[in-house]
């Protein structure tokens, strides 16, 4: 009896170890993970130098994890386990009411230059230094400058979570306090938070961006702060078209909670979309919306063709309009189509790793911008290094 049990244990162990090993080597490799929206590590090329530096073994380790049989299934098992353990979150992604997901842990920059990974705190001094950059740019610019710091999902959808909002509130208070009074600050967070509580979908449930409806409300706020409230296009001026019902965003990928259902994406079409010329990094693109992305995982990239350094919007017939320079991150991509109804746009990707756009006053002068608008996420205020360099 005892001997049989031992045989069973030993063979189960051997079967599992050898079974997965066999599957790993027998199954073909994948070069891309749809679910995680990233390239997977493929078999690294061997090199003596790489072996000695330890790089080769690191790459092989990544290769093993990335190509492991049933990888997506295992990731889902882990996500489900964490929820069953009562943690209410996985990999720093909170699970809230109605399947709302929100990232709560971020990488935070410290004022001494260090970085704390995966924290929900923030360094007060570093935040003040970042805001000082905004004040500096405001002083250096001789055209009106407006600042829209977009909320993180957790700031706007706080009512869906048991997670305390104290840190987010403190962060926003510090930012407001540190901004010079003559900076035109557009605070969309209270309005969007109210809309969210009322059941409107203003931020995606599975992604960190605002929805087109959220972007529309932000557009109204921006117009009002420009003193152009009368020109705001009403909701029913747009044909609100659902273009995707299967959008699994960044929070869904990171959270590994497979049971959460996908988002829908709307395009709000005015009907005059063909009359604009949109260029990205110097080349004309399909207009505001690149439908091709809707068949892929990264569907938010359908707005303004995803990430580019410079995007411009003008009227196709060349008729000049007031020029708005937007210094921005990806939130601006779904906001820009609304503003393009009133302005010629130049969008600069402030987070670009290729080009540094922090000298905003010089750039604004060189393109003779009539206005400058900063659209930047609070996540970047606490984590990125760009704001503090603005001038």
């Amino acid at each position: 009896m005892k001997q049989n049990a031992n045989r069973f244990t030993a063979s189960l162990f051997v079967t599992l170890i050898f079974g997965f090993s066999f599957l790993f080597f027998a199954l073909p490799d994948h070069s891309f993970s749809e679910q995680e929206n990233r390239s997977l590590r493929t078999l690294p090329r061997f090199g003596m130098e790489k072996l000695i530096s330890g790089e080769y073994s690191e790459q092989i380790n990544d290769y093993f994890a990335d190509q492991f049989p049933a990888r997506d299934w295992f990731v889902g098992i882990k996500g489900t386990m964490e929820i069953l353990l009562g943690k209410g979150e996985n990999n720093g992604i909170l699970l809230g009411k109605n399947g709302q997901l929100a990232q709560r842990l971020f990488d935070v920059r410290r004022s001494d230059g260090g970085v704390i990974t995966d924290t929900d705190g923030f360094d007060r001094e570093a935040v003040k230094i970042a805001v000082e950059g905004i004040n500096r740019a405001n002083k250096a610019l001789d055209v009106p400058f407006s600042v829209l710091l977009t909320g993180r999902t957790i700031d706007v959808t706080a009512s869906s979570f048991a997670y305390p909002a104290a840190f987010g509130e403190e962060l926003r208070a510090i930012v407001k306090d540190a901004l010079n009074p003559d900076v035109s600050y557009i605070d969309t967070i209270p309005l969007l938070a109210k809309k969210h509580s009322a059941g409107e979908s203003v931020y995606y449930q599975t992604d960190h961006h605002w929805t087109t409806r959220g972007a529309y409300y932000a557009y109204c706020e921006v117009m009002r702060s420009f003193g152009m409230g009368d020109a705001i296009l009403p909701e029913d001026a747009f044909d609100r078209k659902t273009v995707s019902q299967a959008f699994y965003g960044t929070a869904w990928s990171a959270g590994g909670m497979k049971f959460v259902s996908p988002d829908t994406i709307e395009f709000w079409l005015k009907g005059n979309e063909d009359s604009f010329l949109v260029t990205a990094d110097g080349k004309a693109i399909d207009g505001f919306y690149s439908y091709g992305y809707l068949d892929q995982k990264d569907q938010y990239s359908a707005f303004l063709d995803g990430t580019h350094d410079v995007v411009t919007v003008t009227k196709a017939d060349g008729m000049p309009r007031p020029k708005l320079l937007m210094l921005k991150d990806s939130f601006a991509n779904s906001l820009a189509p609304f503003l393009a109804q009133h302005f010629d746009l130049v969008l600069l990707n402030l987070s670009s790793v290729r080009t540094d756009y922090t000298n905003v006053s010089e750039y604004a002068a060189s393109i003779q911008a009539d206005r400058v608008l900063l659209v930047y996420t609070l996540e970047n205020v606490i984590g990125a290094t760009k704001l503090q360099k603005l001038r």
Binding site: A5, F8, T9, G54, R71, K78, G79, I116
Partner: protein, 467 residues
């Protein structure tokens, strides 16, 4: 390579097992030796040569000692000392050079070259101690010198214990090295033990580590008393699960290849005194220091004063062994003082107290000890210590610290209960000893869950391999 990596579990391990079990008996050590070198080279290709040099020297010195010890004991002693000095000098140079150079550079007029290329070779603290135990055991006639280079190399490099112990004394495995029998029973015991260790490390250790990192980061922005307690408690639990899990895996792997390694942990957190704690925590290290430092210095046979001096030497070395940094030295002194106080009177006093007093006393001091252990930055360590008692922080707690506390509470409770013999006892009573099949199924599930966590985290290095 660490054991809790997918490449170890599903490439290295099956390949090693396969080769080991198909070759004839005479080649088995050679297979283990080669695969162990491969295991080491995987993470540390350059320092492989350092390790081979250490092994070769110790091997040759061992033969010399063997030759002299029958004719000229004195000469044998000198050879033994030469061998130990040489082996130790490798450890001292590679482990403490930066520490010594950095601190000397604070003095005016003294400057040692920086040597930026110098990094700590993985496992050097562990294999150096094994080599020393061999040399001394041969000299003391506790075993004969190993004439077979491959067998000796296998002893030092044996991959289950190579990079984080247990520290196996040569005399413990002398017989197993050349004459061991692999059986189904030993293999299945080993598989269960290995799986337990894997689950301890991956399912609990890594999760506790994440909680610890979180609170440590949070305390830099918004320190609270609760946060400070969580930092030190999570670190203490994490270190236990990480390290004892690793030892379980090592012992389990050893059994799969027919070796019986000594135990390294015996529920340290149920101790009722610091003396008892050190009989249950990292047992093979304490044993090593007792056998090769404390007893040779005279132990407790030369009066109280000498005994305290010997203890001080042992604990300064134990502290430094854990890392080249002042906080480890302080940690050693801390335990030295506690153990001397217990020896003087407290141990007898504690024995007469109710059990809970001893438990509370021990856990509190151990947790404070790990606070010293975990902060190489003194200022941060002192801030954390003060925060434990509500000094210099934002009160007892704030909403975010409380939220995280409630979220981690189930994990901490599971980990705390798991650090006692209770789960094992319950399992034994539940199944009334007839637990073969059920145990196997648990193991299968544990492996699958561990794989799920590993695939998700991609890779998580061991905490204890830096020492």
């Amino acid at each position: 390579v660490v054991f809790s990596s997918l490449i170890f579990l599903f490439a290295y391990l099956p390949l090693t097992l396969l080769c080991y079990y198909i070759v004839p008996k005479a080649w088995k050590n050679a297979v283990l030796f080669l695969f162990s070198l491969l295991f080491y080279a995987w993470g540390e290709p350059i320092y492989l040569f350092l390790m081979i040099a250490s092994i070769t020297c110790a091997y040759l010195f061992g033969l010399l000692i063997e030759r002299y010890k029958k004719t000229d004991r004195k000469k044998a002693g000198r050879v033994m000392i030469a061998s130990v000095t040489l082996t130790l000098s490798f450890l001292i140079f590679f482990k403490y050079y930066h520490f010594v150079a950095d601190n000397l550079s604070l003095l005016p007029g003294i400057g040692l070259p920086k040597l930026a290329w110098l990094t700590l070779p993985i496992g050097i603290s562990f294999y150096t101690f094994q080599i020393i135990s061999y040399t001394v055991d041969v000299y003391r006639d506790e075993c004969a010198a190993q004439k077979n280079y491959v067998a000796f190399g296998t002893y030092v490099t044996l991959f289950p214990q190579l990079i984080a112990g247990p520290i196996v004394r040569y005399s413990d495995v002398d017989r197993d090295l050349c004459d061991r029998r692999e059986t189904v029973m030993l293999f299945s015991e080993g598989a269960v033990r290995f799986t337990c260790g894997l689950a301890k490390k991956v399912l609990l250790g890594d999760m506790l580590a994440a909680g610890y990192e979180y609170y440590k980061g949070l305390s830099l922005f918004a320190p609270t008393a609760l946060g400070a307690w969580m930092t030190v408690i999570l670190f203490s639990l994490h270190l236990y699960y990480d390290f004892s899990g690793y030892s379980d895996m090592a012992i389990g792997l050893g059994k799969m290849f027919g070796f019986r390694f000594p135990e390294n942990f015996n529920y340290p957190y149920i101790s009722r005194s610091i003396t008892e704690f050190w009989r249950r925590w990292h047992i093979t290290l304490s044993t090593w220091f007792r056998e090769y430092v404390y007893v040779p210095l005279g132990g407790n046979r030369r009066g109280k004063g000498r005994q305290y001096f010997n203890l001080a030497v042992v604990w300064l070395l134990t502290g430094l062994w854990h890392g080249a940094s002042w906080n480890f030295l302080l940690w050693g002194i801390y335990y030295c003082v506690l153990l001397i106080v217990e020896k003087a009177f407290l141990f007898r006093l504690l024995k007469r107290m109710p059990a809970f007093v001893g438990h509370f006393y021990t856990l509190f001091l151990v947790v404070i000890g790990f606070l010293i252990f975990s902060y190489t930055d003194f200022t941060q360590g002192i801030n954390c210590f003060e925060a434990l008692f509500g000094i210099g922080c934002q009160g007892f707690s704030h909403a975010t610290a409380t939220y995280q506390f409630l979220r981690l509470l189930p994990l901490v409770c599971i980990a705390a209960v798991g650090a006692t013999p209770l789960p094992k006892r319950c399992f034994a009573r539940l199944t009334k000893g007839n637990h073969g099949i059920l145990l196997s199924i648990f193991c299968g599930i544990a492996i699958l869950l561990s794989v799920a966590y590993l695939v998700d985290s991609t890779y998580s290095p061991f905490a204890y391999t830096q020492f």
